[in-house]
Each structure stands twice: as C-alpha cells, then as structure tokens.
C-alpha cells in the first residue's frame, strides 16, 4: 500500500502493551468473501447463455426470413404510420392533459367536475372501445356543427370527409392519452413546493409567467419519468389502430402474416425488434431531457454514459497500477 511513512505510527498507540495493534492497523481491512453471490452469478450466466443459444439455433424463429422482412417497404410504411400516430397523439395528449390538469386544479367547481368526469370516463373505457366507437361515429353524426346548444349553428362540416382513418386513430389515442397525462401533469404541479408559488406571487410575476417559467419547469422533473412511461404505453397502444383499418407496424405485419402464414413468427419478431428500438430511443432521449431539467435540483448533474465510461476506465487504470505496485 502507498500510505505515507509514519502514518500508522501516529495513529496507533505507542505504549508497549498495545504493540500488536501497530501491525493490525498497518494493513487494509480484508473484504468479506461472498461465495453465494458467485454461485448465483454463475447460474444466471448459464441460463442467459441457454436462452441466447435457443434464440440463435432454434429453426422455429427463421432468422433468415426475419432478415428478409425487417426492412421491407410494407413494414417500413407501417413503421412510419406508427411514428406519425404516436407523435400526433403524444403532443395532443400532453396539451389536453395540461389543460385538464389546470382545470382540475382550478377554483371553479364546474371546471373541476368536468375535468374529473372526463378523466374518470376515459380511464374507465378500454382504448379499443373508444377507437371502434369513434370509427362508427360518422354513422351516428353525419355532420358536425359549431353553434349554440339547442340554438342556431354557425357553420358545419361533413363528418365523413373529415374523419379519415388517421384522424380517427389520432383522436381516439389523444382522448385516451389526455386523461392519463392529466393525472401525470397534476401530480407534477402538486409536487412543486408551496413556497415557490408564494415567492412568485410576492414578486408580482404575471400569472402566466409564474406557470410557464417557475412552476411548470419544476413540475417537469416529476412529470417526465411518468410521462415517458405513458409514452411507451402509447407507442405500443398504437398497435390497436389496426382495428380501425389503419396499417401501422403491427397491422402491416399482421396483414403479411395472413398472406404468408409460414412467416408469422419471423414477422412478429420483426415487430418486436422495431418496438424495442423505438422504446430504447425514447429511453435515451428521456435520460438527456431529465438531465437537462435536473439543473439546480441536485448539486451536481448525473454523469452521461460517456462520462461514466471515461471515469470507469480511469478508475480501473489507477487500480491496476496500484495492484501492480504492491
């Protein structure tokens, strides 16, 4: 070890009776051996190896067919639809969620009740029911018009032309998403300390500024992890739009599967891998967005993976050098 000479001498008692303690403190404490942990690690490694082996060698998966389908235009077209539906619904859902959350936190009992009822209803009804209901909506209401209830209408439009499959899918998902996002946003706003509202009010900051620049950025810290969770649910939820005859990623694979029944398993694997990629991309973005909004909340920011790798390597090198010196 590389302790400075004399360090142990000053720490250890100097009387002759305590002589053995000098040798006791001269060395580093031996770490406890943990054989159980080594055995558990070995068992898990064997199981993982078996799983990977099966995945690679089992002909059931038909990896050559997977390679054939993975970048086919039909699949990629479906992927684009999935991305579009997700993007529109995520943005509209979040905006709707913010409005619903503000309504639920407002002092007006009517706004609170309407918001509560909306959230209660949309969270109770399965998404597939909402989608199919909207799909048949144009049959129920031939035209949509804007006007005074029970009074004159100002303008109206033909609903069957407005409601393409895409619109039905996005509206259905957004309505559903808004209900969940509202609770996520409300939770985030409630997590901001009351003192922040008071300080903003005491400084006379305009109301909209208080929300946009003081409360909401702080609420985002708890909103982001929960909303990303929602977003991942939404990405997978888009697979339901197949039932309103929109050919998304899952829909395209499903259609191809009925044309080529022998390829159902590789097609499902294609879909699985694409969903894995989408979720991974979202998780990476989440890390950096969370890091951005952590400014000021922690004394120092969490390191990026690259920084972690760099410090890890430096530590390892230092350790090797130390061990070699002994």
């Amino acid at each position: 070890m590389s302790e400075p000479p004399g360090a142990t001498a000053t720490l250890a008692p100097t009387s002759a009776a305590d002589e053995p303690s000098k040798t006791l403190t001269a060395q580093r404490v031996l770490p406890l051996r943990r054989p159980g942990r080594w055995i558990a690690t070995a068992v898990v490694l064997v199981l993982v190896a078996q799983f990977v082996h099966g995945l690679v060698t089992n002909p059931f998966y038909q990896w050559d067919r997977w390679g054939y389908w993975f970048l086919r235009p039909t699949i990629l077209d479906g992927l684009v639809i999935t991305l579009e539906v997700t993007a529109y619904s995520a943005v509209l859902g979040l905006l709707g969620g913010i409005l619903l959350a503000l309504a639920r936190l407002s002092r007006s009992p009517v706004l609170r009740a309407v918001s509560w009822t909306y959230i209660w209803a949309l969270r109770s009804v399965p998404l597939i029911v909402v989608l199919i209901f909207l799909y048949n909506f144009s049959a129920l209401y031939k035209t949509l018009s804007v006007g005074i209830p029970f009074g004159p209408s100002f303008f109206s439009f033909d609903e069957s032309r407005l409601a393409t499959d895409m619109v039905v899918a996005v509206v259905g998902l957004s309505l559903n998403e808004a209900a969940y996002a509202a609770e996520v946003v409300r939770g985030g706003i409630l997590s901001v300390d009351q003192g922040q509202h008071e300080a903003a009010a005491a400084l006379g900051l305009p109301k909209s500024y208080q929300f946009r620049k003081i409360v909401f950025p702080q609420a985002l810290r708890s909103i982001i992890p929960n909303y990303v969770n929602q977003l991942i649910g939404l990405i997978k939820g888009t697979s339901l739009v197949f039932y309103v005859s929109l050919l998304d990623l899952f829909g395209s694979a499903q259609t191809m599967g009925s044309t080529y029944p022998g390829d159902i398993v590789p097609l499902l694997l294609v879909v699985t891998v694409w969903y894995l990629i989408l979720t991974s991309v979202v998780s990476v973005i989440q890390f950096y967005v969370e890091r951005h909004y952590a400014r000021g909340a922690t004394r120092s920011l969490p390191p990026t993976p690259l920084q972690k790798l760099r410090t890890g390597l430096t530590d390892l090198r230092a350790r090797i050098r130390r061990e070699a010196a002994v």
């Binding site: 005491a202 400084l203 305009p206």
Partner: protein
C-alpha cells in the same frame, strides 16, 4: 459596505405603510383582531411576539398574500389589494394586485429561491417578467446587487449549491431588484445555522441605514435593539404595545411583554 449602500443602489424611495383596523380569521380562529399600525418612510419597525401571535400573518397581509376579512393596508396612501367603491372595499383583480406587489419586497424565512434558475436569473427574473427592464439591464442590475450582498462570484451558481446565509442574501437582492418602497422580512434568520445569522443581519443593517422602510419579524432581540426605530409587540392578534426599543425592550409597560421578553432573553 462601500460608499454606495444597497438601498441607494436600488434607487429606493421609502414608502409609508398604514395598516387600518385589520381583522383576519380562519374559521372561528381569530388571527388578527383589529390591528392599526403606521410605519413612516425610512422607519425600521421590528415586530415581536410569541409564536401564533399573528405577527407573520400581519406581514403577509401587508403584501396581500393573505386577504384580511375586514380592514385594509395602504402604501403611500394607496390601498393594497382593494379599492374603494362608495362606502365599501372591493377586491382588485389578480393582475392589479400582482402589479402592486412589485412595490413591496418580501423576504421569506425559507428563502424560496427558484432552484431551477441560476442566482443571477433569480434576481433578474422579476424586473424582466414585469416589463420594467430589458434583459441585459436587469442582469446588470442583478450583478450589481449581488456584488453588494457579497456574492459577485456566485452569479452562475444554482441556489442549492449555496449555504443558507448565501441563499438568504440572494433572496434579499431578488427583493431589491424591483426597487420596492418597503421590504418585509419574515423571520429572515430563523432557518439559518447560528454562525450564518451574522452575514444576513449585516445586509439588513446596511439596508436600514440607507433609509429604506423595513418591517421585520424576528426573534433576534439584540438585533432589534440595535437597528429598530420602533418595536411592536403583538399577542393574540392585537398590538399590545409599541415604541422605541429603549421603552418596549428595556422598560415594557405590559405584563405580557415582560413575560415574553423574560423567556427569549
């Protein structure tokens, strides 16, 4: 501090604060029970009282963070949070109240700095948001104010990277950035470690000598004796007695004041 004092830097015109027969209650609990108080321009008033006596509520009524049920507060003769309508008082719009608050500085016990903004932005935010200064001017003012409270080197830091005493000094600079005619302090040193109290009191003292109107709720009796022009003792939501520190602190006339002082001194 150097030639230019904090108050002079913030270009403050000291205000008069008048509290007119203020009553405040929560349900059946009376927090303030008819308080009348006049604070002259440039005067330093320290409010003392046992916990639960209503002293913090009185301070919060002055900048209308709490609405009184009866009575009102006026600053330089202008009612705060209300306006006269015939023989009644009517609540002002939220926007109008926010504008009025810009003329009243408030320093909290727990600082309440905005943790997601840098120290500089904490101080510069209000003048920009209320449209009084452009961004660069506000930052220039913020830099200067932070220099005066001894934190010129901390402009880029975030509040949680600072000690409690430093945070409270930033909070004072933030309150000054709006050039308020009066600054209210709600137990500014109660959340601080004992060794950090001095640095905050030094900044408040600097303000006191610069002629800004100050209303301070504190438990620091020694500090009150040193800087107060007037000490107000509150108990049970009423002003029990008030006067210069030499009277109220050294020769209290009321039993309750004597009782309180014997416990805290």
């Amino acid at each position: 501090m150097t030639a230019k004092t904090l108050g002079a830097l913030a270009d403050v015109e000291a205000a008069t604060v008048e509290v007119h027969d203020v009553h405040k209650w929560y349900g059946t609990h009376r927090v303030l029970d008819g308080v009348d108080l006049t604070v002259r321009p440039g005067e330093v008033t320290v409010i003392l009282g046992p916990s639960g006596s209503g002293k913090s509520t009185l301070l919060r009524v002055i900048n209308h963070l709490e609405k009184p049920e009866i009575g009102y507060v006026s600053i330089n003769g202008e009612p705060i949070g209300v306006k006269r309508q015939g023989e009644r008082l009517k609540e002002l719009s939220e926007r109008a109240i926010l504008t009025q608050r810009g003329r009243i500085g408030f320093v909290f016990q727990n600082f309440n700095l905005f943790p997601h903004l840098t120290v500089l932005d904490n101080v510069a935010a209000a003048p920009v948001a209320t449209g009084r200064l452009g961004r660069t001017e506000a930052q220039e003012l913020a830099r200067e104010l932070l220099g005066r409270v001894g934190l010129a080197d901390k402009t880029a830091a975030y509040p949680r990277q600072l000690s409690g005493g430093q945070q409270q000094r930033v909070a004072i600079a933030r309150a000054l950035a709006l050039r308020p005619g009066v600054i209210l302090f709600d137990e500014p040193t109660s959340a601080l470690d004992p060794e950090l109290v001095g640095e905050v009191l030094a900044v408040i003292k600097d303000l006191a000598t610069s002629g800004t109107t100050l209303v301070i709720v504190t438990h620091e009796i020694g500090f009150a004796r040193e800087i107060a022009d007037r000490v107000v003792f509150i108990d049970g939501g009423r002003i029990v007695e008030q006067g210069p520190p030499s009277e109220v602190l050294d020769n209290p006339r009321h039993e309750r004041t004597r009782d309180f002082l014997s416990k805290v001194l």
